[in-house]
């Protein structure tokens, strides 16, 4: 039979294993929240996803921002208008724990915009490279950025029959 010393070592090993699974689930959830807040324009909840000194390298580094205020300013400017409908999807997370409180992640991403006042659609396929940090028990984005595989844009007016039937940000008719 195992003695108490063996049992303690096995319990400690299990604790580390379970903690890693919990951290990976929490990091996936953080990224899911990030995408949801982008598309629903929930700026306060989105800001919670970042650490104060977070950095970005969006669009192949074209938008390299430092600090949550600068990042939020950029995101609100890009996506804040009620005429911009966005759908951001993250897939295939590859999350690696680099310590008990730091991690890296790679995500495949597909994102599309419908710009209603110009009647234009865009679609882009990207790979995100992120770094995460655990502060006071909460995982936050420390760095995020993506490289593009492609982006395409088209005139929605070319499809004569195309109609928008629902729009989360449509101005209410008074």
């Amino acid at each position: 039979m195992a003695d108490a010393k063996d049992l303690e070592a096995r319990v400690q090993s299990l604790e580390r294993t379970v903690a890693v699974r919990e951290d990976i689930e929490a990091i996936k959830r953080l990224k899911h929240k990030y995408f949801r807040c982008l598309d629903c324009k929930l700026w306060d909840e989105l800001a919670e996803c970042f650490v104060g000194d977070a950095t970005t390298s969006y669009t192949d580094g074209k938008y390299s921002l430092r600090g949550v205020d600068a990042i939020m300013g950029f995101l609100k400017k890009s996506l804040g208008a009620s005429t911009v409908l966005s759908v951001h999807q993250g897939h295939q997370p590859e999350i690696d724990m680099t310590s008990a409180t730091t991690a890296k992640g790679i995500w495949a991403s597909e994102a599309g915009l419908i710009i209603t006042d110009r009647n234009v659609s865009t679609r882009e396929v990207n790979f995100y490279h992120d770094e995460y940090v655990k502060m006071d028990g909460q995982w936050k984005i420390k760095h995020t950025g993506y490289r593009r595989v492609f982006e395409e844009v088209w005139d929605r007016g070319e499809t004569k029959s195309l109609r928008l039937m629902a729009n989360m940000f449509a101005q209410r008719k008074e």
Partner: protein, 172 residues
Amino acid sequence: MSTIEELEAKIKQLESELQILKDIEAIKQLKGRYFRSIDCKLWDELADCFAEDATTDYSNGREHYEGRDAIMKYLKSTLDMPVLTMHQGHHPEITIASETTAVGRWSLEDYIITLKNKGMQCAAFYRDEYVKVGGQWKIKSTGYDLVYRELWDRNETKSLKTTDRMHQPSPE
């Protein structure tokens, strides 16, 4: 070195943390089965995803139904025909609230080819409640708010052909 009592307490803590991870995985699989049953039109399997007293608030709450039978009647009325559907759930945010209750959010992308060859696409966010009944997680309430929905005539793209389909139109 830890005493047996201390080790037992740690093991209990681990058991409870592992149970939460297993419940989260089971709920993700439940939602996967729900979407698969919709697209494959597996009505018995779909009904099995719901608690008997389940409720829905589909399409910004416009499609509100109470009870599994009413929900299944609605779903069959819109889907039990050779319409082709793709429903994908992404981005699960699952919170286990107790040993037998949980809440979840998902993003939805769907693409539908109607009987008249119309294309319909939407993006939406689901807000769900789950309940564990007899050891099985079930949908207690579900519904979504749309980001957008768009509709167009696929015949407008002259080269577009549907070259395979799971659900065949009736020969007429």
